[in-house]
Symmetry: C2
Subunit: 254 residues, 2 copies
């Protein structure tokens, strides 16, 4: 049995998220497992580095799986791409040591969230950005974002109300990328709670719109209450960009 | 009556092209005229700078129309954008002299055609590029393209077999833009025949794939026969980028 790590890109628009669960149909995991079974002949589980919600995209999702394979890794990659629908791509592959696990071995992740701030509809990016028609005070958003950087209890930013495990996470950095039409927030952290990036983004948008003050960010963290944070920004603006398997030394896309 | 010029961007994927004709439903022109009637209360024709085929996109289509309007041009633009579906946007507007006509006054146009040459599926650009899985000899394509620049009879590159008017056109330049994953051909000319950009692109792709020699370009032009040219590249890679209303002095996007 070989253990393969595969990097995936997908447009999440028409899927019910990454994870197969109960009678949820049309998940990305399910699609990949079906293809893997066609290729290898054996029923094989794939392990994602984390779930992505329905409608969320990835340019750097990572999964691993164990199969008997006599060809080269490159041949396996090609076999996947030949069978994948055009909204999912297998970007790269590597054979890993037996103990490698895409989720458990992950040290850090990079998510991005794109907010469309252009004057008219994001015609060609309408499925990949959330449109904000109000003018955003980006300086106030940066100030609020600074309060989130570091190790904090992010309970206020977790959509799972019955979360029993620790809600403490470390955000290494939040980088603002601005063009005339688009504001993209890059989140780098050691892990993210359920919908945490979308709730952080929604909160920052409310700060940008003047509905919340930048100074409130710290109070919201300390409140440890989902009700204190902002809205959950829609999934279509969210991308899983990269999963890091080495200790954090500052980020750049692979 | 005021005469307005409006620049439009649209994702042509779900439309039957620009021009309303006979019983063709779901054209972009039809959609715009319906909105204009809602705004102005009067049935009004819009004039496009040219038709775009079903599935072809635009970032700089230009139309004009004459209406009675007491508000500012900016208010008219906003009224359009408030009613447009999210795959069409009104980018800019200007009041023009009475004789301005988007098609008849046009001096030059810029079209682009994007060919996906990346190793895996163009996940996020699959509706905006044509994927080529064979390796392209871009040097040979450049050589063939050079033969098309200038004033020629482009009858071999016209899909309309019953074309009675002149098929002589001038191509000012064909610019190659290359990234790791994408080859975009930019065509600048004083006018283009029906499907001319797509047939030129299909011919250049066949040269790139080695199915035709670069040296054949001139022979194909002189043959004045559609059968001699290459295939018609699919509409989804084609964008109308800009329409110029002044004499050609070398191009850049507005």
């Amino acid at each position: 049995m070989k253990n393969y790590k595969m990097v995936l890109a997908y447009d999440g628009t028409r899927y019910n998220g990454w994870q197969k669960q109960g009678n949820t149909e049309n998940t990305i995991q399910e699609k990949l497992e079906r293809i893997l079974q066609e290729i290898s002949g054996a029923e094989t589980e794939v392990f994602g580095s984390g779930r992505t919600d329905a409608g969320t995209h990835a340019t750097g999702q990572v999964m691993n799986f164990r199969i008997n394979w006599n060809g080269t890794a490159e041949q396996l990659l090609d076999a996947f791409n030949a069978k994948l629908p055009e909204d999912i791509a297998a970007v790269s592959i590597a054979e890993m040591p037996p103990r490698f696990h895409s989720r458990l071995s992950a040290k850090a992740k990079h998510y991005s969230y794109s907010i469309w701030i252009g004057k008219h509809s994001p015609v060609f990016e309408r499925k990949y950005t959330f449109r904000c028609t109000e003018t955003l005070d980006v300086q106030a958003m940066r100030q609020a974002a600074a309060a989130f950087i570091g190790t904090h209890d992010f309970k206020s930013f977790c959509a799972n109300k019955r979360m029993k495990k620790s809600t403490v996470r470390t955000i290494y950095d939040i980088v603002f990328e601005e063009t005339e039409d688009k504001l993209t927030l890059h989140f780098y952290g050691n892990g993210f709670l359920y919908q945490m990036v979308r709730i952080l983004t929604g909160t920052l948008i409310e700060v940008g719109e003047g509905k919340k003050n930048a100074g409130e960010a710290e109070r919201i963290l300390l409140a440890k209450s989902r009700e204190q944070a902002g809205f959950t920004a829609p999934s279509r603006g969210l991308f899983l960009r990269e999963v890091f398997y080495e200790d954090w030394k500052g980020g750049s896309e692979a």
